[in-house]
Every structure is written in C-alpha cells, then in structure tokens.
C-alpha cells in the first residue's frame, strides 16, 4: 500500500471511530495530534520509517513497541518507554531527537492517556513492522520461511496477479509493445543478441510463440542464461584476494553450466549435480565427467591460499562453500552465524556448524600448487578419458617428465638432509640461531620449487601427455560432524553438532549419514516443502526478464531483505515451477508469454497516477533496461558481422604461463583489454580483479560475490570506452565495411546499418542529419561510414532494450 493511501485510510478510520467516548476523545484531541506532529515523521507507515523498529501509528504497533520494548503499556506510565523518552529521563533515549523537550502540558496529557488505559481507536491498517525473530517459532512465521502454496485464485496466471494490484491503485496496464520492440526485447533477453533484419522481417505477432520456442532451443540461449547462473555461482578463473592464482581448469565448469542450461536440466537436478555430482551414479564416462565437473561450483570460490594453518584454511574453505550454496540457492546469509547467532535472521550457530560438518567432510580440488603465494596445495580431479576431449594443458616431452621426477627426488633428499641436520644439532644441544636465515631460505627453496614440480607432474601422465583435469569436490576420507567453534575460532571447539540443516525450515528430508551429506543437502534444498529454493530461482528468472525482482533484493530473502511486491504471484510461480518439473525454460516461457512481459515501456497512465508508484513496482508498464556488458559487446559483434559463435575451446586463462595473475600485466602475449577475440563474451577470461575492459566498464558481476542483480551505472568512462576503445572502433569499421559490401548506394547502406543496429528504418530526419554529417566529414567513404556506424553503436538506442 502506498503511504498516501494508507494515510487516507487512517484518516477515514479516525473519522469514523472518533466517538463520544471520553477516553477516545482525549486521545483524538490531546494525543493523536502530538504523535502526528512529533513522532510520525520517524515512526509511521506513512513516512515509511520505523526507527528503532518502532511504529507509533497503530494501536498494535505502539503497544508492541520497538527494539527497546513496548512504547506504551496501558495503565502503566512507568513501563511506557514513550513517556520516559519524551520526559528525557534516560539520556540514551530522548525523543524527539535533538530537539528541546516537549512542553510539560503535553507530557502530562500523554501520561493521563496511558494511565487511563491508553484507549486507541487506530486499528491496524497494515501489518506491524516485522521484527527480527527472537525465536524459531516467530522465524517460521516470516513470509519467506513458510512454504509456498498455490493461491486459490490463479486462473488468470501472471497477468491476473499483476492486474489485480494495478486495479487496486487505479492504474492501467500498458498495451502491448510494438512488433519490433517486442522482438528485440525477446531476442536480447533470451539469447543476448539482436534479431537480424531478416529475422525481424519474418516476425509477426502470430509467430510470437514459435519465436519463443525457437530461441529457447537455440544454443545461444545457454550462453546468455548460463552467464546469469555463472554470476550467481561467483564463477571466476582465478582465486582473487591476496594470492590471485589462476584456475586453468575452471572453464570446464563454465561449459558445464552452458550445456546444462541449453539441455534444460531440471533445476532441482542442476542443484544436485553442482553440490553432489561426485556422489551420483553415472551411466558412462561422459556422464561421469559431466557430474564431476559440476562440483566445480564448490571449488571456484576465492580462498585465503597463504593461510599457514591447515585447520583454519579448511574452516575458511568450508565457510566459503556454505556461504555460496546458501546465498545462491536460498538467498540467505546463514554464514553470518559463524561467530554469533544471526543478528536479523533465524539462524543459530548450531545451524551454521550443522552445515559446516557437511563441507568439512568434503575435499575440495582447486589445483593451485604450493609456491611463495600459496601454502595449500589444491590438487585436481582426473577426468575419464573421452573422445574429442578438449585438453588445453601442455604436454611435456617424456625426458622432461624424467627430469622433473629426478628433481623431485633431489628436493626430497635435500629436505631429508636438512631435517637430519637440524635434528642432530638439537640432540647435541647446538645453537643454530646463527644459521637460521640460511636454513630458512633453504627450506623455502625446497618447499616452493617442489610445489611447482609436483604441480607440473600432476597435470601429465607418465609419458608427459597432458591429462584431462577438472576442479571440483569429493567426499573426504574422514566423515565427521563439526564442533561449534566459540566465536568462530578454531582454537575453541565446543560441543559437536550433528550434520544437518537449519532448524527454521520445516522440511522433512533425510539427514546426512555415512557420506559427507552433500547429497542429502541437495535433496533437502530441492524438497517440495523447501520454502526458498523455488521462490528464489523464479524470482531470479523474473528479475532478468522484467528488469526487477518480485523481491527486489534477489540475493536476500531474509528479514533485512525487501518484501515481495506480489507475494501471491511469487508463490504461484514457485509452485508452478516445481509442478512443471523445475524446468527453467518452461518458466521463462510462461513469463514471456504473459501480457505483463509484452507490454510497452511507455506508461499509459496520467503522470500524477504514476507518482504513487515511482519505481514501477506494480508493473503498469515494462521497465526500460540497459543491456548487460556481455550483450552490448556481443550485439556489436553480431551487427558488424564479426561474431564467431563457436565455443572457445578451453580458455585464455588455461594458456597462461605459470599460476600467478600478477604476471598478466607483463604478459605481452595478452591483449591489453583481455579481449582480442570475436567469440561471445561468456568465453572471455574471468580473472578476479582483472576483468576485461568491457565487462569492467559496464558493471559485470564482481566474481567475488554471489550476484543475482548487477549494478547499472552510467559514468563518462563508459562513454570513453565507446568513443575510443579499440574494440568498438574495430566493430564500427567492420560494420561500415559490411554495409558497403552489402548495399550499393549511400542511402541504402545507411538503411542497412539502421536495420542491423536497430531493426528499423532510418527516418527522414535522421537521414538528413547523417547526410549533413557525411558531406561535412573528412576522409574517404570507409572513414565516414565508420564514424557513422560508431555513432550508431554508441547510441542509447543500441544499448537499451525498450
């Protein structure tokens, strides 16, 4: 409800209930005006504020109170915080803040009112502020922890829910967008590329559904929607943080995601594979490899590789995995309960350590070997040998393998020698402090050199042939529950917590037993009764298609997140998603077939009417959206004719020498913008803290975080990229060449460029503008067409979807 209408209702109720009753009349004449004048500013639904968790605008709210307790206890002024606050008896609670004390007469009026039982006609018009739960029971009452139920009246589907809310606010939905706008929106949303002029010509409203089906079948679909998932999965090909070492095998997980999205692997199965693929049965080597690769989800997070304490390192890796899993699949911040019970959500430290046991019973394979930046050897998973397998790793000549093995033996012998020397000296009571530096350098030499040798040997077989390897997870040799570590400190283990799932969820799934429990975790997450998994995913899908989530905080469904704008719609979609076999494609189709998706982005309401919904949460028209970084780049390649739709085998990162990203700036083989290809952007290298220019400038997801919704900024650096960036210039030139080849006359060439870029004809005014430019500009035809094409690529129309 908008503040304005709720205020109106409050006024109406006030008018209808103010009776001759003396108490009520005292309230109306002496109390309400004071509250409205001095308190509502910070404590009312109308102001949208509830400072200190307190609202004072309903009887219920004033008696429930806020963070410090009830504001009013009827009949008991001494326990009524409202009174002590306005009396300024507690220096920490003086109201109104930073203002002189209210006149004594007013304070006396309020005291009289409370003494007389605080009669209050203000019945609740909205729910009282939801407070962080103090116990599990109140947590279970919170909207997102109750399981979604199909709303009784859902016969009109998405549009029914949207239009009902619009009608409540006297708003009209916008009519359907025009044919070309709709087609562009569909193409850019579903496959991340604009339609060609030929595709646009063939499209009509009658072929809308067929076009949807065709796009959902296109291999380009997985590249677009796979990237959405890679954002959530914090996918990157390097570790980030202090030790930013490369992950040369991470690309296999990238390809797994793209293929899984294209194959529309049911989302419950998709979750299960990523969390526990290694524990699932496989029919053949291909499937086995696929399932092992899926667990890369658990391995690609950032780690504190220079941590010296192995126990601490293991605890931190488990923490990162727990955080990624719970944020990605349930939009929850359970990892906050590592050191103390969650401050705002109903998660306890027991919940945290019950989950931690599962990840601590897991071994993570991430590949980095020991060197000066890394104290924790990551190893890799050996994949089955398969035909036509991509193996970007370098093979070694057999004699090089032998050399490495000899070197390893020598290093081991050196280590033995030094250890013996130290042991002997100790036994003899000899003081080695004078040799400390020498001994330390020798130990580090052995440790770091051996790490590199072992790393190289692990990547090849006896003959030196590069092996197929992947990042991922497997059950550890030792399966055990985790102690609850006081304040999250490994030095202070407390009681052991059985592996299991957070208590607030009422989901009866089997608990972990003999295995790590990752499979049970996946079964629990994908259980029909789980209140979050399906809701969170349909909300992510909605966000990408509509431009804003039903819950706008797509990665936070907790108390500090926003409430859904259309709770019944969210439940309808979630239940439908599960009933429909968790098909992401079916859910996308359901949404894009709705009139809500298809409506125009121009509002058809009077400007005054829209003011009650300035953020268009009610969807009286479509959101106009800026394209994602990848779509901007891919669209340029598409219209210039340069796009290579083949999959990049492996990744640029897999071809780097050595494992440290700090060498990137010195690597002359690399293009300075880390681009230099004409393949789709999903195949660009994702090096943490070193994203390719186009991704960096246009708000690509920060791969250090689970990201369901990207920022959208607008800064002059983006304009500089479009004006001066070598990539954009190259595409402008290619587009110019293309139209010059494809059309004979200047005006036909320009028409072709407009059709390619915008799927529309150039209008007369534009033609006049461009002709003027053409005549006055210098250079040959190619130079002048290039300048024009660059203006088209840099235009707002190219970068926005209407």
């Amino acid at each position: 409800m908008s503040p304005r209408t709720s205020l109106l209702i409050a006024v109406l109720i006030a008018a209808s209930t103010a009776s001759g009753d003396e108490g009520i009349s005292h309230f109306e004449s002496k109390v309400r005006p004071v509250l409205v004048k001095h308190c509502y500013e910070c404590h009312s639904a109308a102001s949208g504020k509830s400072k200190g968790g307190l609202r004072l605008d309903t009887r219920e709210a004033i008696r429930t109170g806020g963070d410090s307790g009830p504001a009013v206890v009827p009949g008991d002024p001494s326990k009524s915080l409202l009174l002590s606050a306005i009396k300024h008896t507690d220096p920490d609670l003086e109201m109104p803040p930073n203002k002189p004390r209210l006149p004594t007469s007013i304070i006396a009026d309020l005291e009289t009112w409370i003494k007389s039982g605080a009669p209050d006609p203000r019945t609740s018009t909205t729910h009282p502020v939801e407070r962080p739960p103090v116990d599990l029971e109140s947590g279970r009452q919170f909207w997102s922890y109750r399981k979604p139920l199909m709303p009784a009246d859902h016969s009109k589907g998405i549009d029914g829910f949207i239009r009902a809310r619009l009608a409540e606010h006297q708003l009209k939905p916008a009519p359907e967008a025009d044919r070309i706008t709709l087609l562009r929106r569909l193409y850019l949303d579903l496959i991340g590329l604009p339609p060609t002029p030929e595709q646009a010509a063939a499209f009509s409203r009658d072929t809308y559904e067929a076009t949807v089906d065709e796009l959902l079948r296109s291999p380009r679909f997985g590249e677009r929607w796979g990237k959405h998932w890679l954002d959530v999965a914090r996918f990157a090909e390097s570790n980030g943080r202090e030790s930013n070492l490369t992950f040369p095998h991470a690309w296999r997980y990238r390809d797994y995601v793209i293929d899984a999205v294209n194959a529309d692997i049911p989302f419950d199965r998709f979750i299960t594979e990523q969390i526990s693929g290694d524990l699932l049965p496989a029919r053949n080597g291909v499937e086995h490899a696929r399932l092992l690769t899926a667990t890369g989800f658990l391995a690609i997070g950032a780690k504190g590789l220079n941590e010296q304490n192995k126990t601490q390192f293991a605890a931190d890796v488990a923490d990162e995995q727990l955080d990624a899993v719970t944020r990605a699949f349930t939009a929850s911040s359970i990892a906050c309960a590592r050191c103390h019970d969650h401050k705002t959500d109903p998660f306890s430290m027991e919940d945290y350590y019950a989950l931690t046991g599962i990840f601590k019973s897991t071994t993570t394979f991430y590949g980095n070997w020991i060197d000066s930046e890394n104290n924790n050897h990551g190893h890799l998973i050996r994949l089955p040998d398969l035909p036509r397998q991509v193996i970007p790793g370098r093979s070694l000549p057999p004699d090089r393998v032998k050399q490495l093995k000899d070197q390893l033996a020598r290093l081991n012998a050196d280590e033995q020698e030094q250890n013996d020397y130290i042991a002997k000296a100790k036994a003899e009571g000899k003081d080695l402090s004078g040799e400390f530096h020498k001994l330390l350098s020798n130990a580090l030499r052995i440790l770091w050199t051996r790490g590199g040798v072992e790393g190289q040997l692990e990547a090849v077989d006896e003959q030196g042939r590069a092996l197929p390897l992947c990042m991922g997870a497997k059950d550890a040799s030792k399966i055990s529950d985790s102690p609850l570590f006081e304040r999250g400190e490994i030095a202070h283990p407390g009681k052991v917590v059985a592996r299991g799932f957070p208590q607030v969820f009422d989901v009866s799934a089997p608990r972990p037993n003999k295995q790590s429990g990752r499979l049970e975790l996946a079964r629990w997450l994908t259980h029909r009764d789980h209140p979050l998994t399906a809701r969170v995913m349909v909300n992510r899908i909605w966000h990408h298609l509509i431009g804003t989530g039903i819950v706008r905080t797509v990665d936070n469904f907790g108390f500090s997140g926003e409430r859904p704008s259309h709770p019944e719609l969210l439940d309808y979609l979630a239940v439908k998603f599960m009933d429909g076999g968790w098909s992401v494609k079916a859910m996308i189709k359901e949404i894009v077939m709705s009139q809500t998706y298809r409506q125009s982005s121009a509002s058809h309401n009077a400007p005054g009417a829209i003011e009650s919904d300035p953020d268009n949460r009610l969807l009286s028209h479509a959101h106009r959206r800026r394209l994602d970084a990848e779509v901007i780049r891919d669209s340029m390649l598409a219209v210039s004719g340069q796009l290579d739709v083949s999959r990049r085998p492996g990744s640029l990162v897999a071809e780097l020498d050595g494992q440290s990203v700090s060498m990137i700036d010195f690597n002359t083989k690399l293009p300075s913008d880390l681009d230099g290809t004409t393949r789709r952007s999903v195949y660009l290298p994702v090096v943490r803290d070193h994203l390719p220019d186009v991704l960096e400038q246009f708000d690509a997801a920060n791969p250090n975080l689970v990201t369901g919704a990207r920022d959208v900024t607008n800064v002059p650096l983006q304009a500089l990229y479009l004006m001066n960036g070598p990539f954009v210039q190259a595409q402008a030139k290619a587009l110019a060449q293309r139209v010059m080849n494809e059309a004979p006359s200047a005006s036909e060439r320009l028409q072709r460029a407009f059709a390619l870029c915008f799927n529309r004809a150039m209008d007369d005014r534009e033609q006049a503008l461009i002709e003027t430019f053409f005549k006055s500009a210098r250079g040959d035809d190619l130079a002048r067409f290039t300048a024009i094409c660059q203006s088209l690529l840099a235009s707002a129309e190219f970068r926005f979807v209407d």
Partner: protein
C-alpha cells in the same frame, strides 16, 4: 566554438548559485574505510591505562565480544598552539593541528560496516539515497566542464558496498561519482580509453554531434531521465580527453612536490586529488583501499601503524600544499571512517586479539580548511572513549555542517522524488557552529 555545438551550455549545469556566501568551494574526503580507532588517533584516553586488563566500569554491548580495557599502544603528544593531543601514528598530520577541528563525539547508528558506510556517505543506513558528492554536484554544479564533478578513487578495487558509496540514487545519473582505480600510475591505465584515436578533434566532435542528435531523437519519444544522463556522459567524456590526461598525470608536478606527497599509491592519489580540486572538481573521495583495510579486529598496533603510515605523509603534504597555494581556505578537508573502535579489547574464545571491535557509540572525525575553526576540539567521549558524551554529533549534523560551509542550507537543498522532497539530512541535522570559523 565547437563546445556550444555539443549543446553543453544547457546540459550539465555549470556552477549553480549557493544559498549564501560559501566558505568552501570543494571537498576532499579521506575515507579510512573499515573504521579507524579514535582512541588510537585523535581521542586520547589515559584512563584506559588505569584499567588495563580489567573490565571497564561502563561497558557497552559490542558486536563481537570485547573484554578488558585496552590502552592505546601509541604515544600521544600535544601539538601546535592549540595543544591538541594526537597519536604518534599521525604525527605529520598533527603538525597542522591548528588548522584542524576534531569532532570527538560522532555517533553512527549500528556497529556494522554496510549501513554505517551508507549513513556516512548517503545519510541513511538502509534506504538507497544519493551520496553527499552527488548532492553537492547537484546543488553546486561543477566548476570544470571538462572533468567529472565528483571523483572517487580507491586503489586496487572497490570498498565494501562498491559504487553505492558514491551513487546518485534518485538524483540524475550525471551526478554519480566517477570511480578511478588509483593503483595505476599510468594515465592510460587510470582512465582507460582516455586518448582519442583521432588526430583531429574536429572529426570526433562532428561524430559526437551526430551521436547527440541521434540520442536526442531517441529521447524525445521516451521520457527517461537516464537517457539524458547518457547524453551528458558522452559530452563529458569528450571534454575529459582534453583535460583528464593532464589532471591525472602527476609526473607533471615538480619533483619536490612529488617528494612532499611521497611515492606510494596514497601519495599519488592524494596529489591527483589536489590537481583535480585545483581544476574545479567539486568533491574527491580518497578511499584507503579495497574492502575495509582499517577494520583491525586484531593486532591494532601493527595494523594501524602500517595504515596510518601510508596516509599520514600524504595528508600532511596536502594540507601544506593547499595552504601554500592559497587553496586551503576554500577547500574543506574531511577525515574519518564509518565508525570508530572499542576501547575494550576484542576477544576470540576468551583470548585477546590485541584488536578492537566496531564502535558506533562514539568516534572522531576531523575537518580542516574552508571555513573551519582550526585548533578546535568539539564534543567528547566518556572517560574511556566508549560513547559520545558532550555534544553528541550525528552524521546528519556533520552533513549539515559540510553543506553549510559550502554555502548551502541543508534544509533547502531538496529533490522531489516519489511525491516527496528529499534532503541529504532527511529531517535531521544541525550545523555544528563551534567548528565553524
């Protein structure tokens, strides 16, 4: 000339008129993200020594567990005519104490980084509101049409909350801060694609004029303020080419000035900031580093000494340099974090980590330059530095004061959104008169 052709005159508003005569024209904000400890920097608490190892008589609830009193490991000393005590880790800055007003009674709302960053930058812990830099450029415009009005620099990546710290929220997009990763020394890396490939600016200007016209035609059919911002960003980008390469290039400074600021990344970013301010940029925010470097829950002696060591010289250099250029009177320098730290030691499993937890009950910031009464201390914390005691000062008060010094009545700098007039200070804020000269 050609600039008029680009339609500049009416687009990015040039200097707008302040409400009254301003004392300062621009702001530089050293943001010690993570939360610097006030009791180790600008708020000495000798009483902590008396309680060393013992519980404090007045303990507040802290986010994590904290225990006994933890006296500062640093020596404090009086400086200047005012004799204000400053910690040894800011000894160089302290040489300028008579130009500085320390506010020792700041208060935030919660002991968490994210909401406190939002409060300090945007005036609201929870709701998405425009940042102070966005308000200032909205209210005063830019004095230099060739540079962004609001620049945020942070070496090595973004602070927590990223671009939200300098967001424009519901203000037009042109007012959001432009982020520059100051870890780079080379201008082409600092501002990527700053160099036009066209030898002749006429060529590019004509091309941009075409682009502007295409964009305007597109905008006419749609009432979307973001499109306007997009047009402006191109024009600004075009103009930046002429000036930014120079402004961001510290190698154009004489050696003795570069030596004054020091060779580190903070010396460089502070010197760049001075060059930007000199050229009329309205607000520059200098973040200490990616993430939250000042968040020293452990080993505060080592960590705070190291961090302060990185910025003490650049800050002192800036104050000196601004003064000798006659710019200090017109430049407001703001120093501080999102909150302070506890006077009690942080515990982990009952053991001391020799660090301090978050403290929003009381902490220090300081201001110097434009319109500030130097050598002043305003407000105080209690005997131990746990909570503000005299003259508790809210972030809204701080914002109101900064706006006041820039000639703006904080109650009258408003923007209508969703049917309501919004302010940086919401419905709060009193100018802190005692620090105003």
């Amino acid at each position: 000339m050609g600039l008029a052709m680009l339609g500049l005159a009416d687009l990015q508003a040039s200097t707008s008129k302040p409400h009254f005569a301003p004392k300062a024209k621009r702001v530089i904000h050293f943001f010690l993200n993570g939360g610097p400890s006030h009791v180790d920097t600008f708020d000495p608490k000798p009483a902590l020594s008396r309680y060393e190892g013992k519980p404090l008589p007045s303990h507040r609830i802290t986010e994590r567990k904290t225990g006994a009193a933890f006296p500062s490991p640093f020596k404090f000393q009086r400086y200047g005519k005012s004799g204000i005590e400053v910690s040894e880790i800011f000894a160089r800055t302290a040489q300028h104490i008579d130009d500085i007003a320390v506010i020792r009674s700041m208060q935030a709302q919660v002991p968490n980084h994210e909401p406190s960053l939002m409060l300090m930058n945007c005036g609201d812990s929870i709701q998405a509101r425009p940042s102070m830099g966005a308000w200032l450029t909205y209210g005063l415009g830019s004095e230099n049409q060739n540079l962004p009005g609001f620049v945020a620099m942070c070496p090595g990546g973004m602070p927590i909350k990223g671009a939200e710290n300098w967001q424009s929220a519901f203000l037009p997009g042109a007012f959001q801060g432009t982020y520059v990763d100051s870890k780079h020394g080379d201008v082409d890396k600092l501002i990527e694609n700053i160099r036009s490939p066209h030898a002749d600016t006429q060529v590019q200007m004509k091309q941009l004029d075409l682009l502007r016209r295409i964009n305007l035609a597109h905008q006419r059919e749609r009432s979307d303020p973001r499109l306007e911002a997009r047009i402006q960003s191109f024009e600004l980008a075009f103009r930046m080419q002429s000036e930014a390469t120079d402004a961001f290039d510290v190698s154009r400074e004489p050696q003795h000035i570069r030596d004054l600021y020091g060779n580190g990344v903070h010396g460089r970013q502070t010197l760049i900031a001075r060059r930007l301010l000199e050229r009329g940029v309205r607000m520059v925010q200098l973040w200490h580093g990616a993430g939250q470097p000042w968040d020293n829950h452990a080993d505060i002696e080592f960590n705070h000494r190291k961090l302060a060591g990185e910025i003490d010289q650049p800050i002192a250099a800036l104050l000196h340099d601004l003064k000798q250029r006659g710019m200090l009177d017109e430049t407001l320098v703001l120093w501080g974090g999102e909150f302070g730290r506890t006077p009690s030691v942080e515990l982990a499993g009952g053991k001391s980590k020799l660090g301090r937890d978050h403290n929003h009950y009381g902490f220090s910031v300081w201001m110097a330059g434009g319109g500030i009464k130097g050598g002043t201390v305003h407000g105080s914390t209690d005997e131990f530095g746990f909570a503000a005691q005299d003259n508790p000062t809210s972030i809204h008060d701080l914002h109101a004061t900064i706006l006041h010094l820039l000639g703006i009545d904080h109650e009258h700098l408003t923007y209508r959104y969703a049917g309501r007039d919004f302010r940086l200070t919401d419905v709060y804020g009193d100018v802190i008169r005692p620090v105003v000269a």
